[in-house]
């Protein structure tokens, strides 16, 4: 099949794996930022193809996982306000908040609906003019342009009952925060493909320049990932870290101008609260003043304060999602993994989300690793 099978070719994969093994002389640690990469790596068994010298760690690139518990609690509180409909991507439904989940909130009678795109949420608002329809806006630079587009569309269509609770986050600033913390030593980063389609390769340039860490942008097919790992190994072995694109069919150095303009029109950069990491300056997007009547955090701020009744935020006991998102621990190092915490009864978000590292390790673990489960 065009553009699929070519990137899953086993002969080419074997060649690339041999090349990596030939180049790799010393142990290195790579982080795949994006949860989509973690899933592809586990699903295709790529960890078994690369030499033992190359360690691969999952990173914080799972939008559901990095959504702070306090933001989830906020979404649940909003769901109980009169005449409110919450719209959300499906993965958010099962994530446990401090006291409940959106799924449970729906079962208890709140109007919570799963949508597949922000535009669907806006359509629900158009069809239900008497309800306030709030979209839980999670995601990175990938989803931000479509959310911006839906807000602009709502503005143009006079859909005033559409609101967004922006929990949008930015990739390069959190990479900086992880590197600054020094908690985990990294030699290279497998940079996210879809995010880079939007932002391009330039925003990563501070990483090799300031931290000496290699950066290669990768697509999501196994051949893409092996190509990326190969380039990272070569850069690290040569001691010449830089930003490279191993996903040329999707990413241009300057990114996507139209998408960046849309984001710039609707959002402004602000600090953001990341689960497991905390508040990272300049790492989030909030709706700017021009569009503030679409900003759920602003429009419902008074009602929210009453509804939440100042209940403290609670994190699940023993859950190491935060450590896993920072790359400090692997899912296997969490005592709850596979025992107390499974996809059926997830304790933390990394086991819920289709992009969560724990879900990937649990679902696709190799037969050997499953002995640990």
């Amino acid at each position: 099949m065009k553009f699929l099978d070519e990137y899953q070719n086993s002969e080419l994969a074997t060649k690339l794996a041999h090349r990596i093994a030939n180049h790799s002389t010393k142990p290195i640690r790579l982080m795949e930022f994006c949860g989509g990469h973690t899933h592809a790596i586990m699903r295709h068994g790529i960890r078994q193809l690369v030499p033992a010298t190359v360690e691969m760690r999952a990173g914080p690139g799972c939008p559901v996982c990095v959504t702070a518990t306090t933001d989830l609690d906020k979404a649940i509180a909003l769901a109980w306000l009169p005449n409110v409909t919450i719209t959300t991507f499906g993965d958010m439904m099962r994530v446990p908040g401090s006291y409940s989940s959106l799924q449970r909130t729906k079962a208890e009678g709140a109007d919570v609906r799963v949508v597949y795109s922000t535009i669907d949420a806006m359509e629900i608002a158009r069809e239900n003019p008497k309800k306030s329809v709030i979209f839980i806006g999670i995601g990175f630079e990938t989803t931000a342009p479509t959310i911006a587009a839906s807000i602009i569309k709502a503005q143009q269509g006079g859909i005033e009952n559409f609101h967004v609770l922006s929990c949008l986050k930015l990739t390069p600033p959190v990479m900086k925060a992880l590197l600054d913390s020094g908690e985990v030593k990294l030699d290279g980063i497998i940079c996210p493909g879809h995010v880079s389609v939007i932002i391009g390769s330039r925003p990563y340039e501070f990483i090799p320049a300031d931290y000496g860490v290699a950066c290669v942008i990768s697509g999501f097919e196994p051949i893409d990932i092996l190509l990326c790992v190969g380039k990272l190994v070569e850069q690290i072995e040569a001691g010449q870290p830089k930003v490279e694109i191993a996903y040329r069919r999707g990413v241009k150095p300057q990114g996507n101008r139209k998408a960046l303009e849309l984001m710039g029109e609707v959002f402004q950069i602000d600090g953001a609260n990341w689960r497991g990491i905390g508040i990272v300056p300049q790492s989030g997007l909030k709706i700017n003043q021009k569009y503030e009547h679409f900003d759920a955090a602003k429009v419902f701020s008074g009602l929210l304060r009453c509804a939440r009744n100042d209940k403290p935020v609670r994190e699940p006991k023993g859950c190491r999602c935060g450590d896993i998102l920072r790359g400090v621990a692997t899912p296997f190092e969490c005592h709850l993994f596979g025992k107390v915490c499974t996809p059926e009864k997830p304790v933390g978000p990394c086991m819920v989300s289709s992009e969560g590292a724990c879900a990937a390790y649990y679902q696709y673990g190799s037969p050997e690793s499953s002995g640990k489960i």
């Binding site: 989509g36 699903r43 068994g45 960890r47 059926e344 037969p367």
Partner: protein, 334 residues
């Protein structure tokens, strides 16, 4: 007569009788149903199989079928997977007030066509109507009775080390057809549900090899869930090869787009057979002769390593666990 279903259609009174006479009997008539007694009465001897299933699919009309065809095929297939020859079905409908009578008529005609194809009779039935909003258009329950030939012993617990795993055709067609219809996704090659009665395929397989160990139709939860059920019930390991599993190009593309793994996507006209190694070629050849099995493939075998687990050799060579589906299938978000 009104062109929508009213509460009175389910009251048991005049409109109910009208519905039976004008909508159900013309399509489904047979000597047992025609009597309109409280129960259908029939003779049977031997080992019987009995099964029931409810159908709540949304949308009720989808490419390649509708809820009526699904309700017949699903129950026929459940009987067939036990090695039973389906004989009789019940048909029970819960209809939301306001539902279109012409759509109901269309669905009853689908029931008729599917039952005729499978060679089964609907011998008893019921219709209830609920208030608007208390059901989503139409729910159907069918139960079925079938008879099992002597010597046939099929169960998910019968898989033996060394057995071969055969899949009757491409996976994911039904789930993707429903998802694309539900979400308004359009593909250049329309994806149709594979919804089909498999009883004839099963009886042909059983003629070729009466010693089939396991049959199952990988419906909700997909192929991965069925294989895991076999592995757990029989306490054996199952190894399958990713590139042997037939998946239509269009389904593959849709799965990529939606973030699904085809092994978890639902099927309504496929079966997995676990057979003795010596019978594998014979069974495969027989399957390929039937139009519902022409893309059949040998996809793996039963092993004594990692009992209770399903392992897939990926296209690139390494192996990974294939777990059961957990939760609902939801498209990825970025």
């Amino acid at each position: 007569m009104s062109d929508v279903i009213l509460l009175a259609h389910g009251s048991g009174g005049k409109l109910s009788h009208d519905l039976v006479k004008k909508t159900f009997l013309p399509s489904l008539a047979n000597t047992m149903l025609n009597k309109l007694d409280d129960s259908a009465i029939f003779e049977a001897s031997g080992r019987l199989a009995f099964t029931t299933d409810s159908y709540v699919v949304n949308p009720i009309f989808f490419p390649g079928g509708d809820i009526g065809r699904l309700a017949v095929c699903g129950t026929v297939n459940d009987l067939s997977m036990s090695g039973a020859k389906p004989l009789y079905l019940s048909l029970s409908l819960i209809v939301e007030e306001g539902f279109s009578l012409s759509e109901l008529d269309h669905i009853v005609k689908s029931v008729k066509a599917a039952a005729a194809e499978a060679g089964v009779n609907i011998i008893t039935g019921d219709t209830k109507v609920v208030n608007h909003g208390q059901a989503d258009k139409l729910f159907i329950n069918t139960s079925g009775i079938g008879i099992i030939s002597p010597g046939v012993d099929i169960s998910g617990a019968n898989a033996k080390v060394g057995d071969k795993v055969i899949l009757s055709g491409t996976i994911g067609d039904h789930g993707i057809a429903i998802m694309s219809q539900r979400e308004g996704l359009k593909f250049s090659v329309p994806i149709e549900s594979d919804c089909a009665p498999l009883n004839k395929l099963v009886s042909q397989i059983l003629k070729a090899s009466p010693r089939i160990h396991c049959f199952r139709d990988p419906t909700r939860g997909g192929l991965a869930t069925t294989l895991n059920e076999f592995a757990a019930q029989s306490n054996v390991g199952i190894v399958v090869e990713e590139d042997k599993i037939p998946v239509k190009e269009s389904v593959k593309a849709a799965c990529e787009l939606l973030g699904f793994d085809p092994v978890y996507v639902a099927n309504e006209g496929k079966l997995v057979a676990i057979v003795e190694p010596n019978d594998a070629d014979k069974v495969l050849a027989k399957m390929k002769q039937n139009s519902y099995g022409r893309n059949a493939a040998l996809i793996g075998e039963v092993s004594d390593a990692h009992p209770g687990k399903v392992v897939m050799k990926t296209k690139l060579g390494p192996s990974r666990i294939v777990d059961m589906l957990s939760g609902e299938l939801l498209p990825r978000i970025c």
